[in-house]
């Protein structure tokens, strides 16, 4: 079981800030494909991966990164701090 978190407009499109996801996905990209196949709201949120960033256990990562051992995955748009 993996905790998946969403922020900003990704959270708004998916409709929840976080959820526990049961998945066999080996990489972030696999997880995205898995989610997109579940419901339209995921397809809407993940339509353009170039507009998204991902963090694994609170560290920025790439979409081809493996998920082995990862407990928390977060998806969000490019950050706008400062």
């Amino acid at each position: 079981m993996m905790q998946v978190l969403y922020f900003a407009w990704v959270r708004e499109r998916i409709g929840v800030p976080r959820e526990a996801v049961e998945t066999e996905a080996a990489t972030v990209a696999d997880l995205v494909a898995d989610l997109i196949a579940r419901e339209d709201r995921y397809a809407a949120a993940f339509a353009d991966l170039s507009a998204l960033r991902v963090a694994l256990d609170q560290e920025l990562a790439e979409f081809d990164a493996p998920l082995a051992g990862v407990r928390e995955v977060a998806f969000f748009p490019p950050m706008t701090g400062g």
């Binding site: 978190l5 407009w9 963090a55 560290e59 969000f76 706008t80 701090g81 400062g82």
Partner: protein
């Protein structure tokens, strides 16, 4: 080094004074403050700032440790707010203290460039028409290249 991620407002003068008073051996203290700016056409009611609790503190700490090491800072302060802010309110501040001003200025700029696109905050502009997420600019990402 102090890093505060908070909803509460902060007193820029008091923070700057306390920071400057607490550093030993510094010849230069630089502060920067980011403020909620109204839209060019006016009408901004509020800025809502969302963040990723858990990651925020860690990401800022990593950036701050790099700045401290690269510029040999005597001390450093970062305060960044989240939640609903009104136009004119301070969003965040950084303060850097170093032996000489070049290091203090450069480290402050480095911190700002990295906080902008590597600290997990997202801003939403609220107007009577609704809310708009602020999009990151290509220039923000490009700004990291100079470091």
């Amino acid at each position: 080094m102090r890093i505060a991620v908070q909803a509460e407002s902060f007193d820029l003068g008091a923070e700057a004074n306390a920071f400057a008073a607490g550093v030993a051996g510094a010849g230069a203290v630089v502060t920067f403050t980011g403020v909620v700016r109204d839209l060019p056409e006016g009408g901004l009611q509020a800025m809502e700032i969302e963040h990723y609790p858990g990651m925020t503190q860690k990401a800022i700490t990593a950036i701050a440790e790099e700045a401290t090491q690269r510029w040999g800072l005597c001390d450093l302060l970062v305060i960044h707010r989240y939640g609903r802010l009104a136009p004119g309110e301070a969003i965040m501040m950084v303060a850097t203290a170093a032996a000489h001003r070049a290091a203090a200025f450069e480290a402050a700029e480095f911190l700002m460039d990295y906080l902008k696109s590597r600290a997990p905050f997202w801003k939403k502009e609220i107007t009577t028409a609704g809310g708009d997420w602020v999009a990151a600019k290509d220039a923000d990402e490009a700004a990291l290249d100079r470091w």
